[in-house]
Symmetry: C2
Subunit: 336 residues, 2 copies
């Protein structure tokens, strides 16, 4: 059965049938009724729908986000949403908790929502080829790469900054201003993820000026919640009072850590300098303004979508994009 048969049975033109099926407005009500009656009667579906009956193409791009409490992601999600829409796709947002597996969540979403592609925001850096085999659709790691995993470079795409280099850069700003007792607040030193890479950059900056890493100055928070930044700084202060600066893994945690310093009678930067990585809006309104490395939130989201859509539409294969950071000088650092 073809669209021509339908037209013949109805006694209308092929283009009329086409207009009805595509919901164009310029069809008389009588013709519309007639065509739909026949379509229903004969269980007719246009060829492409029949072909794709079990796996119909959708316009959905999945976005799996771990760390819903992380305000850095807000700007990235916004950019991804806008870029998906501009490219003619629908973003399907799926939030997962700290402990959940983003690849499993992505694979389930791919099936249930018939995704064309997937963007992972805030995932792990250690995937194996076996782990991604279940996905079956192109995907982009947004804000991270597979530094600790075994994926060949052409098996996945990524948009990120160089996390180790970024941490090295911002901690070196502290060593150049004379700091040697520099504490660090991060999620974990061995999470095979962003935290471990930034920890490496911190260690490298210290070692370059002959300082050995003092494990008592390393504070692990587990999550990216602001409350953990506050609690982490309190634990640090309860152990030691000789650090003159602290590198915090994210802006949000740094703002909370500055609050903890303030609540315990420590002045920033006079008693303790504070630096971080992110460059979100909130930290430019903290007192003092946070000195931080700015990640390009907007560009990260846009490029992730561009790379994914290029793959979905067959214009290009997997790619990796490393974006630059810029230093935003605030008032949270002084020399010692």
């Amino acid at each position: 059965m073809t669209i021509k048969d339908i037209a013949k049975i109805c006694g209308v033109s092929v283009s009329t049938v086409s207009r009805v099926l595509n919901e164009h407005p310029d069809v008389s009500e009588a013709n519309r009724e007639k065509v739909l009656a026949v379509v229903r009667e004969l269980h007719y579906v246009p060829n492409n729908s029949a072909r794709d009956l079990v796996k119909s193409p959708s316009d959905a791009i999945g976005l799996v986000v771990r760390g819903v409490g992380n305000p850095f992601f807000t700007g990235v999600i916004r950019a991804i949403g806008e870029a998906c829409e501009a490219a003619g796709y629908t973003m399907v947002l799926h939030q997962i908790r700290s402990g959940e597996d983003e690849l499993r969540a992505g694979a389930e979403l791919a099936r249930s929502k018939r995704l064309r592609g997937l963007i992972l925001l805030g995932g792990c850096f250690d995937y194996t080829p076996e782990q991604i085999a279940g996905l079956g659709i192109p995907f982009v790691c947004c804000t991270y790469t597979n530094s600790f995993g075994t994926l060949p470079a052409d098996a996945y795409s990524s948009v990120s900054i160089d996390d180790r280099q970024a941490a090295y850069k911002i901690v070196s700003m502290l060593t150049q201003r004379g700091h040697r007792n520099i504490a660090v607040i991060l999620n974990s030193v061995e999470d095979h993820s962003i935290s471990q890479l930034r920890y490496k950059g911190y260690c490298q900056a210290l070692q370059e000026c002959g300082v050995e890493v003092d494990l008592e100055l390393v504070e692990e928070t587990v999550t990216f919640e602001m409350s953990d930044g506050y609690a982490g700084m309190e634990r640090l202060m309860s152990r030691r009072d000789d650090f003159t600066a602290v590198f915090v893994i994210s802006d949000a945690l740094a703002v909370a850590a500055m609050k903890a310093l303030h609540d315990h009678g420590k002045r920033v930067p006079e008693d303790c300098s504070v630096v971080a990585i992110d460059g979100i809006e909130m930290s430019s309104y903290s007192v003092p303004t946070l000195t931080t490395l700015v990640q390009p939130q907007q560009e990260m989201g846009e490029k992730a979508v561009q790379i994914l859509v290029d793959m979905i539409e067959g214009r290009a294969g997997n790619r990796h994009l490393l974006l630059d950071t810029t230093t935003r000088e605030g008032g949270s650092v002084c020399s010692v």
Copy 2:
């Protein structure tokens, strides 16, 4: 053509055909192939799909958000996303700019994404029956009601706080602590929206203790961006230096306004007390902690979805839910 005919042609049971069409895993590969081949050959679609060919039901709930820069919405959006998923729906997020018409955007989204229902976040309070006629699907105004419009109560749903009462409550806290020269920073005093309602509450609190509203102490910001809160406070300070307190329309703007006070050598609360409405995470880490009225972000999102899904699934009609606020005492208020 029915599922029975397909089964007969394939020489398999009806339940096998059903399992193939519904993508159940417990079908042999050989049977799956056989059934799919026949389905494709005959352009068969199950009855319900044929019936809904032109208007197939989707599982999409649209969320149109105005004010993407408003961090208060982040928590609400998160709650809406989780609640949609828990109810078996897919949230389709669409962001609009300040000047855009959310009803037009919602109607377009309803058509292009075949929405089952719509949630509007951050809209205007003055819809007319003519304006909503184009929507054609149930919708919920989240965080606002139609106070300035002409919609009958049974023509729309809403989840909100009592904005006028909330502003009255928090400004009364200032008058009770002796303040009389109280400035206000809000979007507009006559936007037929949240800002106008909160302005009314501010006026009422002043009038109750015999203070006339001084228009020079009323600062309009147009948007909810933090930069506007900062600039608004600067304009206020350039006009007047005799106010002892300020009510700011949102937490984010209040944090930025406190920063402007600090940058101009004013101490909070000693030189100027600051209060707001929202209760977002950020403002509990400002220095000092902001005193604010907390809106239940999580509950607002959950209830909006619940009301909408009840309508989509035919369990209930339009409803209106007014939620309570709670005061969060910070350190940004002192007595005079």
